[in-house]
């Protein structure tokens, strides 16, 4: 049958997808650690946070976060105390922070489960958060992103909480 190779290729993708599903995000974070410093030993602070200190005194923090997002049209707010429903969409991102000041050095969206509004995963959009410590003037986050305002707000709120947490922590040391 003429379509046999096509069907075989589709089945192969299904099979490989199941093989790769486990620890997708953790493997992405490990690759990121190697990209930042191959020599430094990374200490696991908890299951989603890693820290390293290099010989020259530089310190790095890598954090893996998941944010519940939402669509306009009646879904629950991401910060709602009500438990997210089964269909709640989300995004998973990694943040590379300065281990001393807590400032953002780089952001990467590792998974974006929605089918639209994905401009917020673009490098040009994520770059605006570089060096952000959550204390400066509000970032014009929604500019250039359409159809995903609630997702953007949920992401920025989570990011702000993250950098403030680490900013306070480092200044208390």
């Amino acid at each position: 049958m003429k379509g046999t190779p096509i069907i075989a290729a589709l089945l192969a993708v299904v099979f490989l997808s199941f093989q790769w599903t486990e620890s997708y995000h953790l493997r992405a974070m490990r690759r990121w650690q190697s990209a930042i410093s191959k020599e430094a030993a990374w200490e696991e602070v908890d299951s989603t946070t890693w820290r390293c200190r290099q010989e020259d005194g530089e310190a790095h923090l890598l954090v893996l976060r998941r944010v519940n997002t939402c669509t306009f049209g009646g879904c629950i707010r991401p910060d709602s105390p009500v438990k997210a429903s089964a269909g709640q969409e989300y995004l998973v991102y990694g943040a590379h922070l300065d281990g001393i000041t807590g400032a953002i050095l780089e952001l990467r969206v590792l998974e974006y489960a929605s089918t639209y509004g994905y401009q917020m995963t673009a490098k040009w959009w994520l770059k605006q958060f570089n060096q952000w410590t959550g204390t400066e003037a509000e970032i014009q986050a929604v500019d250039g992103i359409t159809g995903a305002t609630v997702s953007v707000n949920a992401f920025v709120d989570d990011l702000k909480a993250l950098v403030l947490e680490h900013h306070d922590h480092s200044s208390n040391q």
Binding site: W20, T71, I76, A86, G87, Q119, A122, T149
Partner: protein, 365 residues
């Protein structure tokens, strides 16, 4: 208080109009909606008044979507359409299952990812009462077929992709050709209605959002067409079928007050000469076209409404004679979901120039 209300309305109208350019389609919204059962819909009524001749008003379509989300991984989307007030069609019915981050399995009756308007055809997503002519005869919008494959999004690359095995267009109905020089490929849609599927084809699309305010897409389709005469068992292909390849490139760009979009689509029909001799069709071996459209927001920011003036130039050739269309008009948005439309269209061929005034309204919820 009045100022705050005005400011809110301005913000709403700005969001509305960026949405008109990059608005997600309804199926995508249903897949994202949380909860379990979601209902959405859209519809449009259109009037066509030629300057010489009798005009018509048509309740063109009313569409009801229902989506059911079983859990974070699995969802079903269905779309039932009433066209011209009397014809009922199933336009989409597919399931989607998340296999891993960035890879979703999707199968069923679905829209073919080709060009802009075939996937994004809700009336609030395009200017003009009628969809672009290119998306009428070359990409036979709304083109939906039975298909199975994968779609997903790679966040690091800001790249969305779709790849499906799909049943082909039907080029012959047993008595006459379904492709023609004046209607292009439009007659060949099988629409999931006891589709012939002796030779599955492939369709793929990449959509890249890596540039600010811009979406760029490239689509490709390849497959043998279907015919009831063909001897599917032995895989013989007769001259009532052709091998069809379609490529399309499109771009959408939007700022607060300015929008631009363009699309080019090219189709090659391998075996078209024998097909024309056998069936009497007038379709050309190479068909295709392009359009470019610009739009500006004409109401001041303080207005609670938004109104876009647009102009679109299209060039299409499906038979012996090229067709050029100039369309100028207005899209007046009462809010993000209801639009009033008015445009004038000049259709020019080597032998005639025709003017038509199109008007209508559309809604989406």
């Amino acid at each position: 208080m009045r100022f705050r209300l005005l400011a809110s309305l301005c913000l709403l109208s700005t969001a509305t109009l960026l949405q008109a350019q990059f608005q997600p389609n309804t199926a995508n919204q249903l897949l994202q909606a949380s909860g379990t059962l979601s209902i959405r819909g859209y519809g449009e009524c259109i009037g066509n008044q030629p300057l010489a001749g009798q005009g018509t008003w048509d309740a063109r379509r009313f569409v009801l979507f229902t989506g059911y989300k079983y859990d974070a991984h699995t969802a079903v989307v269905t779309e039932i359409e009433v066209e011209h007030a009397t014809e009922i069609y199933l336009e989409q019915a597919f399931f989607q299952h998340r296999l891993r981050p960035g890879v979703n399995l999707r199968a069923g009756l679905m829209l073919i990812p080709m060009g802009i308007a075939n996937e994004y055809h809700e009336p609030t997503t395009f200017h003009g009462a009628e969809r672009p002519y290119l998306d009428h005869v070359v990409v036979p919008s709304t083109w939906r077929e039975l298909a199975a494959g994968f779609q997903g999004f790679l966040p690091r690359q800001t790249l969305g992709y779709q790849l499906y095995a799909v049943n082909g267009l039907r080029s012959f109905d047993g008595e006459k050709a379904l492709f023609s020089g004046d209607k292009g490929l439009r007659g060949g849609r099988q629409k999931g209605r006891q589709s012939l599927a002796a030779h599955p084809g492939m369709v793929g699309k990449l959509e890249w959002g890596g540039l600010k305010n811009t979406l760029v897409s490239a689509s490709y389709y390849a497959g043998q067409t279907e015919s009831p005469i063909e001897n599917a068992k032995s895989g013989l292909i007769d001259s009532t079928t052709v091998f069809l390849q379609m490529s399309s490139l499109d771009l959408r760009w939007a700022m607060k007050h300015v929008q631009f979009r363009a699309q080019g689509t090219l189709v090659h029909l391998k075996g078209a000469e024998a097909y024309r001799v056998r069936t009497g069709s007038t379709i050309a071996t190479w068909i295709g076209g392009a359009y470019a459209e610009g739009a500006v927001q004409v109401l001041p920011e303080r207005s609670p409404y938004s109104c876009w003036a647009f102009s679109r130039y299209s060039f299409v050739q499906t038979g012996a004679e090229p067709i050029q269309l100039w369309t100028q008009g207005l899209s007046f948005f009462l809010n993000s979901g209801v639009v009033l439309k008015l445009d004038a269209q000049q259709r020019r061929t080597s032998s005639a120039v025709e003017w038509t005034v199109n008007s209508g309204f559309g809604f989406w919820f």
